[in-house]
Structures are given as structure tokens and as C-alpha cells.
Amino acid sequence: MIDKLKKILEDGEQRIAKTMSETELQDVKASLLGKQSVFTEVMKEMPKLDPKMRPEIGKKVNEIKSKFTDLIDKQRLELQLKADKIDESFDTTVPGIAPPSGGLHPITQMCYDLNDAFRSMGFEIFEEDDITSELYAFDKLNFPPNHPARESMDTYWLEGHDTGCACDKLCLRPHLTGGSVRYLQTHKPPYRFVYPGRVYRNESTDARHERAFFQYEALIVDKDFNFASGKILIKSVLSKVFGRDVPVRMRAGFFPFVEPGFEIDMGCLVCGGKGCSVCKQVGWIEIMPGGTPHPNVLRAGGLDPDEYTGFYVNIGLDRLVMMRYGVDDVRLFHSADLRFLEQFN
């Protein structure tokens, strides 16, 4: 009997070890431990045994069964591991599969970056119509009646909308600033807002000049504000765009709608201010106009310029994007060319 059990154990061990799959192992398990198992015969013979031997045999059977259970569990684990074992030759240098490509226009990206920065400082975002009237494009901005920008060489006037009154002489907006007056008229001071949008100039185009381009205007109007604080606006924009602190200088500049007016330069990032061909050897690059809104502009917006003052900057987004990425032709922005746009994921 002992020998028989020994044989059962040996056989069982071998059969378990030989299994190649979990189903096979399941079959082996049934024949070793199931209702009709290798022990069935042993159990049948039990009554015939010397009663003194029975506990020992019974104990032995249980030992074997328990051993089988362990072995089967172990074998199962091994089979599972083996089944999903990764081939040694697996090449991990094969490139991944790129997710389908989609994305925002690089100008939109820049605009959203700036929106986020200004929103975080409590600025509203303002948007306005592209078609405006001479009244808002020029008159309300303190443009003298004979300012060259009013002539058709610079502005896209609409056909059949010129009755002699500036109020219904229509054009594609040549700049955003007129729209800012609309904001002043319809909101209550103090003002903090940014105004992104596209503007249009009737010019011949080349790699640096476009007929449609994007501006981003930021305006603060408040009591007790001094122009030097405008630098904070400028620095906010530039550090957002270039990811670091950029040297900035404000120098004398003239624009009809600001007083005082500034040309705002940033330190040339190419040469670090030493002078190079990009900055025409001066170490500075002119990036935006700015200044305190002219009293006439504040008046047009319904404010008392003795009470209110502020600061305004107007940034050319195309130019900033060009500088950010090294784009050398402004016309690419309106090309709708996917080969270009796909580079800005």
C-alpha cells in the first residue's frame, strides 16, 4: 500500500511537471484530486486494511494530496508567467506610435498663453468686430484729420460705405485701439483688460509685412497710476512668451492716442545685448508701442482724464511668435499650410 502511494506520488509529480498549459494542468488536477481520482482505488481498499494501519495511510494520502495542491499551484503560476513571457529579442528601440496630430495655430497658442497670464492678474478678455468705422478707427483716437493712416494706402475701406460721415465710413480695423474705446464706453472703471484680434493694412507683403496680422492689446485705466508701472505689463508679457526675465526699456515714441508715448524695446536674445545683425548692432529690438492713453481717448471713452489715467501696450503677436520659434516669413501664418502648422504641437 505504501508502495502504491509512493507510485501515485511519483506519477503525479511527473504529470504535473509535464503540463504545458493551464487547461492541461486543469485536467491533471481533476485526475489527481477530483471525484474520480487516482486515490479512488486506495480509498476503496481502505476498509480491507489493518485498522492499525488506516490512520497512517490516511495521513499519508492527505500529505500527498496537499503536496499535489501545492505543486499544481506552483505549476500554474509558472505556466502563467511563461505564457506571457516577453521575448528576449524584443526591440525597445522601435519608436512609439504617435497620437493622431491635431493642434491650435501657433498664434492662438501664444494668445492663449497671454490670456492665461493676464487672467491670473485679474484682466478680462475683450473681443470686438473686425469691421469698424472711421469714427472709432481714427476720430476717437485723437488721429489728426490729415493723418496718413487714414488714406487708402494704409487702410482697407469698404466699398459703398462712404457717405462723407466718419460714423458710417467703414473699414477693416487697421488696429485694435478703437475697439478699446468701445470697451471703455460700455464698462465701468477701473479697467483691466486684454484685447486680442486681427487687424488689416493695405500694404504690399513680403517676409516681414502682412496685410492681416494679429495684435494683442492690454489696457489698465485707474486712478493714481503712474506710467512707469506700465513696465510690469510689458515684463509680464515677455516673461510669459520667452520663459525668462527679459530686459526691457521704454523710450520716447509718438503715437496719437498716447501721451506720453513709448517705443518699447527688449534686449536682443540672440546676442544678449552685445549687438548683432538681428538687432542691427544696437542690442535692442523694438517690439511694441505703449503709453498712457491720451486724454482725448479717455474722454472718448466717457472718462474724466483728470481723474483717470493708465497704461496701454499693443503687441504684435505675429512678430512675437516669429521670435519665439525663429519663423522667418510672416506670410506663413495665413498660408493654412499644414506642413507649417504641424510643427507647433
Binding site: 493642434g103 473686425d130 469691421i131 477693416l172 506710467f227 512707469a228 523710450r251 520716447a252 493654412a336
Partner: protein, 812 residues
Amino acid sequence: MKVSLDWIKEYVELPESMDLTKLAYDLTMSTVEVEGTEKLADKFDKIIVGVIKEVLPHPNADKLRICKTDIGNEIKDIVCGGSNLEAGMKVAVACPGAVVKWHGEGEPVEIKNAVLRGVPSFGMICAAVEIGLADLFPANNDHEIVDLSAFDVKAGTPIADALDLNDIILEIDNKSMTNRPDLWGHYGIAREIAALYDLPLKEFPKFDLKDVPALTIDIQDTERCPRYMGTEINGVFVKPAPYKIQQRIWKVGMRPINALVDITNYVMLATGNPTHAFDADNIKDHIVVRCANDGENLLLLNGKELSLSSNDLVIADTESAVGLAGVMGGSKDSILPKTQRVLLEVANFNAQGIRGTALRYDNRTDASSRYEKGIDPERCDQAFALSMQMFKEIYPDMQVVAHSDYYPTKLVQNEIDVSMKWLESRLGKVIAKEDIVKKLSELGFEVSFNEDNMHIVVPTWRSTGDISIKDDIMEEIARMYGYENFEPSPITTTFTGAINQLDIDIERKIKEYLAFRCNMREIFTYPWMDDEYVKAILQNTDNILKISTPPSPDESYIRSSLLPNIVKAVNKNLRYYTEFSIFESAKVFSAESFSTPYDPTEKLPVQSKHIGGAFVGNYKTINDLFRKSKGILENMSRYTHMEKFDFIKSDKPVWSDDVLWLNICVDGEKIGDFALLSKQIALQCGIKNNAVMLFELDIDKLRPFKSRTNTFTHLPEYPMNDFDLSMIIDENISWADIKNTILEVNKDNELLKSVSFVEEYKGKQILKGKKSVTLRLVIGSDTKTLTSAELEKTGFGVAKCLEDKYNALLRR
């Protein structure tokens, strides 16, 4: 504008230690943009004065000579082909290393020791044109070298020293001083520099004429000609101006002509006030300043023949126009070699008129670009005084025979009151009164105080529009104090509530949804449309606005829809891509209705923001293309949190396929279209093989939720089972019908949780006129685990209802 530092020094004494880079920087920061500085002497490096000692024939060439030339401390042999070589002549020698332009043409070349026809030559004896001096030393023929014998200098002297060209030229950006008429002459710039560095400015010379008979002048338009000084001078003749005058005007970019013309140019460059000299013998009777007659002809000095309009101001005699006022003289009365009497004009003209005339004839000149900035009439005094001084110097025998100064209305100087409290608040800084007075006085302002109030009288030269309000005074003080000396103070804010701009944010959400979730690519196109695409896609051009001066003749319409430009962009990208999807959001315009949202007098066309896009694929997989693109639109409202879209068929877009089109609605209102571009129109646009699904919707009509509106459902406690059915059904029974029927018939069956579309198939195994539709049911109970019999009862029950209603057949 070019500014000579040497000339500036005549009006303000600059310290020897003045750092040129700093001067350019300070001017740029406070006044005008200095675009560059040029050391004139650099151009003449290694070019010196040589004295020819002996001219010998060249053994191997008839036209060449060997010049024994003293170059300072030694005599060198220089081979030269000049036609005017003579012993004793002073010449310009370009030593090895100098850079010259060979015969004045082509690229500059560096001079080296050379052997010419077998004879070694040290450098080169130059013609004026070769060293850029042709304007100062015009040659009579191509072979003439420049003769410097008139200059009292020693051999070996650098040319720049010898010719008094050791100067520094500042290049100033004209655009940066359009608002500063006072800076368009050297004296004005000198005044700024003097104020910047607190240096004394020399007074401009004055001149008094005594006991001269009046000159008849007839000014017919006082408004456009506020002042006219006419002076008739006898005893003059045409000759070259003294070298000092020639080199000065030449250094700042003007060509010396003759003494009479050079005087007028010199005066303009010094004072900023243009002047003009007429040949008095050719003036019939007297000068008349009047508006031109329509169609009146005038031949200008530069040979241009103009047909004038009544908007042009002319200088005329009693017979005809002789010059375009403030722009350019006419050929009739210009200075000619025989001129013996001149009529000197020192005048002031109204800026607007001059600008209009110069632009009308595309004839902007040094004079017109100064007048159009708005020069003050008082400056005529300076220009006249300097002119007289120069005439006296150059023509000691000249006589002023007649003179008149027509100046009926004296310029009123602006007076401005500035409160010191206001000033300090705007500057964010207290600047000592004495410092303010000092700087403003240096700039010509008269300043007085009455307690907190500062009273300012603006100098005449800044009273023509430049300075009129207290903000202008603040700017003057700030720029003179130095913008860099003001430190920004933190910007304070008041919290009144969070910024909540649903209308602004919805556009961004949609764009980000399309770009990042739906993998579409954002494009920008111009607002004007190509006629070809307008004709193909929009067809009707009523109510489309037009640009009066379009970028090109076939791009005059501005968009009433995004689609023409999107289709054009599709076509363009088809050269490189076959499957892609793009979108654009922008304003569209229509003349259909107008509104007055701001100023009551204003009338603006209603402009709405649209978003449109294209999905490009091919006709073979049109089902996929349709479902993918429809899925993007269907899910947009959920993902961007706004009111749901419905798709209905009510109004077929003109550009769409006959079958594959839908309108997009929100709450019953049509907000856009979604359809396949018709094959015929695609071909018309040049798109041959690709299927283009287009959509466009009006963002302004979308209704964003104020907050998220997702709802939570409990997770099922008992298993939910997928149960797929494939039904063969008439091909004209729509999925919407099938789904509605199932839901309607089973509306009381709580076990049927959902019905969804899996696929549709038409083909070989299916009878013509039929289709196979596979749908998926989700069946389950909220209270127990279903038995397979219960599951099938509901599942096949659904099949049964379709069999009953549509005669459908379940595929087994």
C-alpha cells in the same frame, strides 16, 4: 535724416569727452531714434594727400604715366592713367589697404601693391568717383583724377583731415520725429542735446534789414500761406559755393549745385525751414501765392509735368504758376547759369495742404516733408537771417533791392497750467521745481509758479500742435529726467468677483476640443475670398461686403462664410496630404443688417463669429468619413458644456451633395450646416478625387452652460448584458426609425437599458433594396441577475418588433 555732429557743434559746444555711443543712446531714449552713427573718416582710411613731383612716361603703355609722388615722408612711384596729371598737383592717394570703388562702379575693392604693365605701383591715384567724392569734386571726363591743389595741406595728410571730413554722422529715423517739426534742422537737434546735457545753446544769428523798398507780393490764400518773406537780391551770379558749405550739405546727403541753390539748402538743413530762390528776371511783375486752377499745367524742376487741381497751392507770377508751394520749384524760374538777380522766398505753408499736394503727385521732397510736419511761422526769421548772412559772405557786392514780410496773424504761443500735485501723481515721483524749470527753460519753455500751479508758455517752435496740454508737459519733464529713472510701483487691484466670460471661453473650449480631442488642425485664412471659390460655393453675392481697394482684383469680397477659404485651404493641402481635417474660427460679415451697438451715429454691419471645418477623405469610405465627422459635431456640445445640437434636414446648403447634408440646430433654431461638398462643386474648385465633408456654425448662437451639467447614475449592482442583433431590413428604413420603434415598443420594458448602432452593411450577401443593420442592446435588471431565458426574451422581443413593423428578418 542725417545729422552732422560737426555742424551741431556750431550751436552747442560738446565736451571733448562726450561719448558718442552714449549720445546716440540718450537721444534715442529721450527724443528721437538714432538708427546708426557713422564715422565719416572710416570711409577714407589709408587715403592720403600726395604731391606729384614728376610725371614720367610709362615704358609699356601710351595712356599710363609713372608719377613720382610725395606721400609725406617718402617718394613713391605710382602708375596712373589720369588725363590731368601734372607735377606739383595735390592728389588723393589710396595706399595699400584702402578700399575704393574701381571707376566708381561695382563692389568696393582693397588696394594692394601691384605691377602695372611691368612697372611696380604703390597704391593708386584716385578719381573723385572712386573714393565717393564725385559730388564734391565733379570731374569733366572719366579719366580726370581729383585735383586737391586748392587745399593748403601737406603731403601725407589723411584725406578726411585735409577735406574737413573728420565728422560723425547720426542717422535719425524720420518716423520717430514726425510729431516734432522743430527737429528737422540742425539747430533743433542742437537744442535737444543742449537740454539733455545742460550745455549752453548758442543764439541763432539775427539780421535786420533797413530802409529797403517794399516788394510787391500778392498772397491770395492766407490760410494756406500764413507767412511769406520775399527778398529781391541783385549782384549775384552762379558760382560754386565755398567748400565749407559744400562739404556740410554733402555730408548730410545733399549734392552741392551752385552757391545760390546751396545757400537755400544749407538754410533748410540748419533751421528746418525750407527756402527757395527764383531767377527774378523770369518773374513777370510780381509773386502771387494762390490756389491752382483745375487743369493748370506746371513743369517742375525735376522735369515732371503736372496737371494741377484747385487743392494745390502754387507760387505764381502774374502770368502763370512758377512753383508748387512748399514742394518744388518750377523749371521756368529756376536758377540758371545766366542768373543775376534772385528772388528769395522764406515762407511758411500750411502742413495739411502741402502733404496733400506732395502725395497727390507722388512728389515728396526735403521741403514738403518738413512743411507737412507743421513748422512754426516764426522760424522764417531765423531762415531769413541766415540766408542774408550767407549771401553777404559769398556775394560781398550783393544788394537787397526790395523786401516784404507778409505775416498778418502772428502765431499764438500755447499757454498751459499744470498742477504740481497732478504732475507728481502721474510721474509717481517728486522732482524738484528748480530741476523742472531748468530743463523746461533749456527747451525754450517759459515757466512761472503760483503756489501749486505751474504756468507754462510754450515756445513758438513747439506751438503748432506738438505741445498743447498738460500731459505733453508731463512727457517733456519725464523724458528729460530720463524714463529709465522712474521705477515701476506695484499695480494694485480690488477684488469684486471672479472673471466669468462664458462667451469668450466657449470659443476656446470648442477650439481645444477640435484640436486636442478630435485631432483637427487650426488654420487662419484672410477675410477676403477668392472670386472663383465664392462663385462655386456661395454662388449668390448679394449682401456680401466688398473692399474698395482689394489686395488683388479677384479678392474683393470679404467673407460672409468661412467655407470658400476653407475649401481653398483643402485644395492647397491636397498637394501634400490625402486625409486631414482642418478648422478655422473667425468673424463673418454681411450687409444684410446693420446695428448701432455703441455710438448712436454709427452703423455697423452685424458681424458674427463662426467656426467651420473640413474633413477630407475618399468616397470609398464615405460612411466612415461621415460618421467620424458627425461624431465630432454630435459630441461637441457635451465636451464643451453647452446646449445639445440636433441634426435636421430643412434647408439644403447650395454647395452640398443632394443626399448627404444636415442642418445643425439648437432648440429649433438653425445654427449651421454639415454636409458633403457636392462633387460638381468640388470639381469646379479643382478637387478631383477627394470627399470633403464641411461644417460651419455660428458660435454666437451657441448656449454655453454656466456650469457643468453632467449627471451621476448609480453603477449597476447586477450584470448588464450586451445583446447584438443583425437585422435585414429595407434600405430606406433609417436608423432613427429603427431606434425610435424599438424604444417606443419597449418603453415599458425596464430590462432594456439602451439601444445602439453597431454597423450597417450592404453587399453581395444581402438582397438588393435591403441592408443589414447590426445593433447592440444592453439588457439587465436592477434587482437580480437575469437568466438566459429572460435575457433572450427581451432581446428577441426587440427583433420581433422590427419584424412586425418593417418586415425585417433576423440574421442567425
